[in-house]
Symmetry: C2
Subunit: 415 residues, 2 copies
Amino acid sequence: MIAAVLCIGTELTRGEIVNTNSTWLSEALTGLGAEVVKTAVVADDPERISKTLGALADDADVIICTGGLGPTTDDLTSQTVADLLGVPLERDEKSLDAIRERMTRFGRKMAESNAKQADFPKGARILPNDDGTAPGFSVTLGAGTDAFFLPGVPREMKAMFETQIAPGLALRAPGNIAQIRLKTFGYPESRVNDELAGLEEAHDVIIAYRAHFPEIEVKVLARAVDPEAAAARARAGASAVRERLGGIVYAEGDVTFAEALGEILVERGLMMGTAESCTGGLVAELLTERGGSSAFYAGSIISYTNAIKHSALEVPMEMLEQHGAVSQPVAEAMARGCAKALGVDVACALTGIAGPGGGTEEKPVGLVHYAVATPAGVTAKHRVFLGSRDQIRRRSAFAALDLVRQTLLADLEKA
Amino acid sequence: MIAAVLCIGTELTRGEIVNTNSTWLSEALTGLGAEVVKTAVVADDPERISKTLGALADDADVIICTGGLGPTTDDLTSQTVADLLGVPLERDEKSLDAIRERMTRFGRKMAESNAKQADFPKGARILPNDDGTAPGFSVTLGAGTDAFFLPGVPREMKAMFETQIAPGLALRAPGNIAQIRLKTFGYPESRVNDELAGLEEAHDVIIAYRAHFPEIEVKVLARAVDPEAAAARARAGASAVRERLGGIVYAEGDVTFAEALGEILVERGLMMGTAESCTGGLVAELLTERGGSSAFYAGSIISYTNAIKHSALEVPMEMLEQHGAVSQPVAEAMARGCAKALGVDVACALTGIAGPGGGTEEKPVGLVHYAVATPAGVTAKHRVFLGSRDQIRRRSAFAALDLVRQTLLADLEKA
């Protein structure tokens, strides 16, 4: 099954918004076993839409097209497809009723511009939209290419694709797909890639990478006619990946790094707190990004000034003067002070220079000291992280959380 | 000047990474006065690359193409372009020296796969890459289309486009472009759009919107042969936009909401602190996102538990029991306690239910109480924000910072 994606909209060709629809559809189609050979974006221009649809139909068995189904004069998709097929537009009364009913429900009157959204190329199959006013439709182009037309609003487009298009495409795919997602932190993408060399061939799987800076997600994908065979092959491939990558794999599936750490804390009945300086709240934000974090996370003291490091975290002023705020003794004192001030079992502290200003030869931009205090003692580390302010902050936050994770796992082994 | 963008890479057609290059190039080309009529993404397949390049050359005066210039066997761009032009590949010794020198500098030996990156279609103009091993090149396709080939790594691609391509294209554009960016917070995009109806025609400008949730950036763009006329027209358009939108415009140019607030604080010699609950560090993170924040921001106490609200922020336990943690008295007490604990002039506090769990009929998910304490007193507000956990947290954080901003501006008017 050869597939193509076409996104219509001048806001896209002008670069005003990032085209997430195209990425989402490409991934969804690949997951259904299709080979996506081309995606295209064109401005709201009937001639270009028509020409591009014709060219894609020459190449692909399936085209998914988004955008241009709205009520304004810019929205030209239905008329363009009708012209391409040489058929008139026809109003669909059922769709018109649905649009009217939806607008009444939201206290609005249906304008003629909205009624136009119930016009479709004669003979098209209509795809209802439960989340918005613009229904979609599908037609056959050229020598048997199925073309599906969906609204450009991502939420509506995704729901319609998943319920009305994906099930049919899945039946046409040459087999069943099984996929396992492994979340990793610790190596750059190139190293992950090098470590996994040869596994695709050895296990007959596809291995794909997705970077969510600074994490790398490894997807192991197997295809077989028998769904159980596909699942078993994906599982064997994932085990081989885990073996090669060792401790840097922190979870499987849709689990964040903070959630994986949270699981360890919850298992052991520990509450955690943080004391941040250069990361300015990023560690706390990562820890509370998902719901349920109050089961293992108590809070943070963000001490952007020495005065607060002293008053709230009890870091001695002499220590701050002697070693400077960015130093191992201060990171350790912050961790101990945090555990005491917040009454937590595990405390993680960071102090560093995120830049772009504030670096010296001795303490360059990117230098970060971090420490974790547990009932077993205090562990400290430091690194000089490279990159922009944002990258330095993200790298530091993940490195500090990783130190907590490694410390807890090591404590567990010792116990 | 009609332009097109082509991005090459199977990682893109599989949807493994979001195509930010395409958006960035479309915006940059539009800013240079070009009309981008089409962008395309194709897999690493010589036949499709060749066919797509040919089709784009029929339409466009300029094509910018990214990807496929790396050292691996997947990287086929140079060979494909040579075949399309009917010329052989030729090794460029100067590029080869640069690649060897770069690899030596990073302590690596140059492999034959890297040497291949110095091979270009005969007659191509070479575009050196100061940030990576893959140089780019340009050729003329069809009846005079200039095609530029750049590496897919965004940092390298952007630097090469800006220094080696943009200056030449700017000279060819039909006039000069002046652009003013206004940053707004407070209205959804549809309302901003409605408020500005008719301004494009009245001032002969293009008005474009970019959403950085929950902010909307309004770009006012004017084009004229005389650069001063373009600037004057953009300025007049921007003034009209400011008049229509009033206080929701918080800055012009590349300034974050937190930086705009920081400027007000610095002007008045005030230090600010925060006390967060449901936003879990997001407000602190926004305030410290850019360098220089230590001039106006002291730190935060993130109190995810009632115990910390009491111990670190001196919120009375009876108050927590009587009104609950998510209540106006507690938000106000947190703000007062924060000002005292951190020794700051201005304190902002938030307490709410970010979800997805934890809501009740009386206190639903999305309910957030926030308060700001200044030397003049305490102001509190509450809202029920809609959306996902992430959206509720971002909306709350911006609303609370906006309350600080409005309070300080109102204090200033009174004084």
